[in-house]
């Protein structure tokens, strides 16, 4: 799959691919082919695609529990990603990671991370290695508005600013930390927190991939120039649940009219207005075909063999005790 994200049609196409991926994954959760459920990214596609459009192939990202969009935007193969969700050997992590831990290090995807905020210092460490090697590589760490309240993020912003690390903090503010509206969870403002550490921060429309790309490009330029970290708050919204389990247990915490109001600002619709109807139809058809093939690939792939379940814990080849029997 092309990793090119330059033209308006390519931006739309990648967002369409992510949307199609998530809709396919939701059907596979329902059918029981994906166990454990997912945190759907639907509604937030512009953030991942806009930010990754500003990155070079060898730049790095860390992601979150809601990470499918980031991973696909950075170029992961949707078929192997879907296979990972379905727990198959052909998955990105051969089924050992699952929905919240997809990694493809060769593509600069250091890993999705299921602990809120915890990927931020890992990104800072990778940025430190990049700074030391003078490789020019920048590292993006995605996190949600919930992550703003994790101490580890604040520790990391401080360290990154002190050390002028080439790291970009991207806050996907979708308005809810699981079920808690941001008004009940965030004192002050996200950007002011970054500014408190001497990190320039900016709030952008998280539904507009082009706006996000411009803001991210400025942050990337600053990082590559050795001027240190930047912070982007992207105002977005998830159209679906926090997690698929939420529908089963009927959690209710958002007014229906709020969801409908945000749906009017669908990032795909906003981007579609910038391309021709023909480009849109082609992109839609391409995404549908890719996901149909991905689904077929994932479901035809073998389940992992328990005989090798202990492999890959230690690089030295040592195995965890107790797996003999």
């Amino acid at each position: 799959m092309t990793r090119s994200l330059n033209t308006p049609a390519e931006l739309y196409g990648r967002m369409r691919l992510i949307r199609e991926f998530e809709e396919t994954a939701l059907r596979l959760v329902k059918s029981g082919d994906i166990v454990g459920g997912i945190h759907p990214y639907i509604g937030e596609e512009a953030v991942a695609v806009g930010v990754c459009a500003a990155l070079a192939d060898d730049d790095l990202i860390t992601s979150t529990h809601r990470g499918h969009g980031h991973v696909l935007a950075k170029g992961a193969d949707p078929a192997r990603m879907l296979a990972e969700l379905a727990g198959r050997t052909t998955g990105l992590n051969a089924g050992r990671g699952g929905s919240m831990h997809a990694a493809d290090v060769g593509l600069g995807i250091l890993g999705a991370n299921a602990i809120v905020g915890a990927a931020a210092p890992i990104a800072a460490g990778a940025a430190w290695a990049s700074q030391r090697a003078r490789s020019g590589r920048v590292v993006v760490t995605f996190f949600g508005d919930g992550g703003l309240n994790q101490g580890v993020l604040l520790e990391t912003m401080n360290l990154a600013s002190l050390w002028k690390l080439p790291v970009i903090f991207v806050c996907e503010n979708n308005g809810y930390a699981t079920t808690m509206p941001i008004s009940t969870g965030l004192a002050g403002s996200a950007v002011a927190r970054a500014q408190g550490f001497g990190i320039p921060g900016e709030t952008v429309d998280g539904m507009d991939a082009v706006d996000i790309r411009s803001a991210a490009a400025a942050a990337v330029e600053r990082a590559r120039a050795g001027a240190g970290p930047s912070f982007l708050e992207c105002l977005t919204y998830r159209f679906g649940p926090h997690h698929t389990m939420e529908q089963r247990i009927r959690l209710s915490y958002r007014p229906a009219e709020e969801v409908e109001r945000w749906r009017l600002r669908d990032p795909l619709v906003i981007q579609a207005a910038r391309i021709t109807p023909q480009e849109r139809e082609e992109a839609d058809a391409r995404a549908a075909a890719i996901l149909a093939a991905a689904r077929e690939f994932a479901l035809a792939s073998p389940h992992p063999d328990p005989a090798d379940a202990l492999d890959y814990l230690y690089a030295s080849g040592m195995r965890g005790r107790g797996g003999e029997g």
């Binding site: 790095l60 931020a120 210092p121 460490g125 990391t156 230690y314």
Partner: protein, 327 residues
């Protein structure tokens, strides 16, 4: 040959590896300009410069996360957590991130990093600066866990930990920092996962770790001098990987096992060794396996109380003697 303290051995081991491999970097609180609050890293900043030896803010999560991210992308970091009790502040990075990420990624990445930490009692700092937590580390799949008892082992095992492709938690026992030992010149590397029989005897096997090793040896000497009881003492040195072969063969020979542990009693490392011996060498045992540990309480600050808590030479000797007589 030269005489080195345990604390000087830390800097020697790190310098040995930093000279050999410029991917090795070092970060932590007060480690560079001040040379460490225990003066264990003196001289490293001067020799290797501020790009490789870095002071950090008091941010344990950021320290370990940065070490992890750097290890994934080409460096071989050594991170210091000043007191091992502080692992509780950053345990997510240890237990959920560093330990699990190689497995979760199906082996796409490795984490060649070392986390050094001052562990255990002896400086009367009270419960939040004195606990022995090596058993916390042993309970997490994906980590290697090392705790040297001599200055030479500090150099050799630290070197091996730095060269190892996996994350190693390296526990330096605070009460040993001032102890001295003879160390030969030149490069020293001791393989991880090899226990050491530090004194011989046929009547019982005492297995000990870190600061409990010299106490176990002193107890063995006393038992022989006063009661004619001859014990073998095994310095475990590394809890993960664990040299079960040496422990099992010593127990097979003597028929008795005593563990001496500074960690609190419940689920201390000796419980795992007791379980292994019970399963794999049951037929050789001539009496119960006995664990001599710190009781299951936080460590008090007062010297009279702290001293009472830790396994003493007298308690070790007395426990072994009465148990052998009762059997």
């Amino acid at each position: 040959m030269s005489t080195l303290t345990y604390r000087e051995a830390v800097a020697r081991g790190m310098a040995q590896e930093m000279r050999r491999d410029d991917r090795v970097v070092f970060l932590g609180e007060d480690v560079a300009a001040a040379g460490g609050v225990f003066k264990a890293t003196v001289g490293l900043l001067e020799e290797f410069g501020p790009a490789r030896v870095r002071d950090t803010p008091i941010s344990e999560q950021a320290i370990l996360g940065a070490a992890m991210g750097a290890a994934m992308t080409g460096l071989r970091p050594i991170a210091e957590i000043m007191f091992s009790d502080f692992f509780a502040v950053c345990w997510d990075l240890v237990a959920n991130e560093i330990a699990k990420s190689r497995y979760m990624s199906d082996g796409q990445v490795s984490f060649p990093l070392v986390i050094r930490s001052a562990n255990g009692a002896g400086v009367r700092f009270g419960a939040q600066h004195s606990q022995s937590v090596e058993n916390w580390a042993m309970a997490v799949p994906g980590l290697k866990v090392v705790a040297p008892s001599t200055p030479r082992d500090v150099v050799g095992l630290l070197a091996a930990a730095i060269r190892d492709p996996d994350p190693v938690l390296f526990f330096e026992q605070k009460s040993l920092y001032a102890t001295k030992g003879e160390i030969e010149d030149g490069e020293i590397v001791e393989p991880l996962g090899v226990a050491k029989i530090v004194s011989g005897g046929d009547d019982a096997t005492i297995v000990a770790l870190a600061a409990m090793v010299p106490r176990a040896v002193a107890a063995a000497n006393r038992l022989e001098a006063e009661h004619g009881i001859r014990c073998s003492v095994v310095d475990v040195r590394s809890l993960v990987p664990l040299d079960t072969a040496t422990i099992l063969s010593e127990v097979a020979r003597t028929g008795r096992l005593f563990t001496v542990e500074e960690n609190p009693r419940l689920c201390g490392w000796g419980a795992e060794i007791a379980s292994i011996v019970a399963e794999e060498a049951y037929g050789s045992l001539r009496g119960p396996i006995v664990r001599i540990t710190t009781p299951h309480v936080p460590l008090p600050a007062a010297d009279a109380l702290e001293d009472h808590m830790l396994p003493s030479v007298a308690r070790i000797a007395e426990t072994v003697r009465t148990s052998l007589e009762d059997a």
